[in-house]
Symmetry: C2
Subunit: 416 residues, 2 copies
């Protein structure tokens, strides 16, 4: 494997500099420790990453890319930069969902247990954003004192990451009930394991705990921001459930729904991180812009992967969207090239033959490519938001900003 | 009817003094206007109301009692005291649940439409409490100015009433999904009319809008208080769903569940009214105590009515609790007299013959009577909380406090 050939160029000693390195595939990469973080080999990639890519490999959901000329630096994996805090947050989440009634406790903690806590993508983004915004804060109008980033502030920002995860998991629990989902994060979905009733109740419970935690931050703008996210999640889900034929073929409708369902949570929680840090409206908007574009890019790639899976060949994905009659960006772009596809889409994909027909049109169109291009465009806008932040000489700030940039590329190149 | 004989003693002129009077049964009572409020005949009743009662009659869900010697005063119906504000709140609620997606809007407003808005019991209690607490507020520590009840404060307290209704309706929507309920407030339940998915989403939507509205009050203690209520509603529901045999026969467990399911919302929102009014911890606790005991009394009467219905004879109620295996106070008291009933209860009432057997035991026991006595005890404690409020000479304050006392009696004597 290219990854192992690449790693072989580094001595064990040089790798030791990175305390959270671990080999996910012990037969190919040197084992350095037993901790659970992964190693990330990449260089700073400008523009289209894939053209210069010698090869790539997905390990634990993260795609490691090896570049021909420029792969002479091992950078920190964005996740490992905040690894210690992710552990704190994981513990804190388990404590926050403790409930008086045993069944409710089991249901609420179901997706916070070790091993099924997910990729922790959102907490990672939020913690990196917290450091990335560690810039001198303008004078407070109330007391005239220049505040600096303190332990207290960091704890409050960690709390935003926890609340965001709670809202996310609550929405997963309710979505799984709505969709009669059978699995989630590789284990049985809660509705299957404990029934729909407990899933609905556990979702409500997480929302109420999230709201109590929000209130404890004593910042009503932040409470309002994250409560609006819950409304957006519901709105996006309802938009998807109640689409008319006209709306189903509208890219604008699709993007609005995608914002509500996926991008609102990360964008508004990024903004909450900035607001808690006492940042200006401009900086808060940049944080929001990063989250919004990152979220949209993430979902666009997700929609592509639903067609291609890990193989990049059409039809290798789970095709779960199209089989449920959900029309995403690749098909919408394909319709622009083949208007006759619209008739197939309008029939709703209840007939599996229509799925094949749509895949045929899609294969002959630039639908997949254009969806990837749109994802790339949003990733670039996310990078632009980071680049527009006030300059900082602080090494931690610079490293976190780079990690946020790297994350956009990881989102684009991810395969699951 | 005693009610009409009683009313006949009053001239049309003397009745006109009460602007919101209306005759609900035009054939028996003189019609004064076309407005929709009802007339309330009662005197201040001390202790056990029923012993001195000449007769009573239920009109529009409110029981009017006519007392032999003491019925020489016509008092205002508690609901009519806040009638104008209830209309404002009804309109405001309809505006607050406007959603971008048409189906979500229809689902969210389903129980806020005119005619199915329910008894508006909670908003009535909260508005009366707001006036009842209109007492000089201790000096504010921040600016040293003695604040008085202002329009602005009243609007914020109205908002608490709206938020409370939204949380209540959200919990109804989710409960109906959990229980596969078919009707609610005399119309098809939302889960039947629009499906479980939209009911779950509409409930989430109402919770998020309630949270946004809460945040707008800019009082994080109040946000936290009402978010905790949502947690209590979920906890109560889960307690009921996951009861062990031991717990099912515990009066303590029953009362705790009843507090979570019914009394927490009204008690904590009463407290929120006090907190917004800047009241002391002592006064806020009295407001909470009123709500808590009122809520418990309400549920205890509800549990009795499930056995007796309007007729006061056993078995005339819907028996829906016991048929669903839910054991309430009357049965718990009956078990104390007939321990052998415990065996029947433990079998879970899946066999209808066990329901008949339990009714037989219940009929021979003082279960119904003791449940009513416990309700009466809680009503008395609610009255005691009102009586413990700092004295006031303000007529509006006194009238609202009396109305809150009257409400406790209406709760005891209600028949549906």
């Amino acid at each position: 494997m290219l990854v192992s050939r690449f790693i072989s160029r580094f001595s064990r000693n040089s790798l030791k500099r990175y305390r959270s390195l671990v080999c996910c595939q012990p037969d190919q990469l040197p084992v350095l420790s037993n901790c659970c973080y992964s190693i990330h080999f990449t260089d700073r990639v400008q523009g289209n990453q894939e053209t210069n890519c010698l090869g790539s490999r997905a390990i634990h959901g993260i795609r490691y890319q090896v570049h021909h000329e420029r792969s002479s630096i091992i950078e920190m994996d964005p996740f490992s930069l905040v690894a210690d805090e992710l552990s704190i947050i994981a513990n804190s989440l388990q404590e926050m969902v403790v409930a008086e009634v045993p069944k409710l406790a089991s249901a609420a903690e179901y997706f916070f247990k070790m091993g099924v806590e997910g990729k922790r993508f959102r907490p990672t983004v939020l913690l990196l954003m917290a450091t990335a915004l560690n810039i001198p804060i303008p004078k407070s109008t109330s007391d005239g004192v220049i505040d600096t980033l303190s332990d207290e502030l960091r704890k409050r920002q960690q709390r935003i990451a926890e609340i965001t995860e709670m809202i996310h998991v609550a929405s997963l629990l309710h979505d799984d009930v709505l969709d009669d989902a059978e699995t989630r994060r590789g284990i049985g979905s809660l509705n299957v394991v404990m029934g729909n009733k407990l899933s609905v109740l556990a979702g409500d419970f997480l929302l109420s705990r999230a709201c109590v935690a929000l209130a404890s931050l004593k910042n009503t703008e932040v409470v309002s921001l994250l409560a609006t996210v819950v409304e957006h999640l519901v709105t996006g889900e309802t938009m998807q459930m109640t689409t008319t034929c006209e709306q189903r073929c509208s890219l604008e409708y699709y993007l609005q729904k995608t914002y509500y369902k996926t991008a609102s949570l990360i964008s508004n929680s990024c903004k909450a991180i900035a607001l808690l840090g006492g940042q200006t409206a401009e900086v808060s908007l940049l944080a929001y812009d990063y989250g919004r574009n990152m979220g949209l890019a993430y979902q666009l790639v997700d929609d592509v992967l639903d067609f291609t899976g890990t193989s990049a060949s059409l039809g290798k994905g789970s095709l779960s969207d199209i089989r449920h009659g959900i029309v995403t960006a690749p098909i919408l772009f394909a319709i622009e090239e083949f208007p006759q596809l619209r008739v197939v889409v309008d029939r709703g994909f209840e007939d599996p033959a229509d799925v094949d027909l749509a895949l045929d049109y899609l294969g002959r169109s630039r639908g997949i490519q254009r969806a990837r291009e749109l994802a790339s465009e949003h990733a670039n806008r996310a990078v632009a938001a980071i680049d527009s932040l006030p300059e900082s000489d602080d090494e931690d700030v610079k490293r976190s900003r780079q990690a946020l940039v790297d994350l956009t590329q990881m989102v684009l190149s991810r395969t699951k």
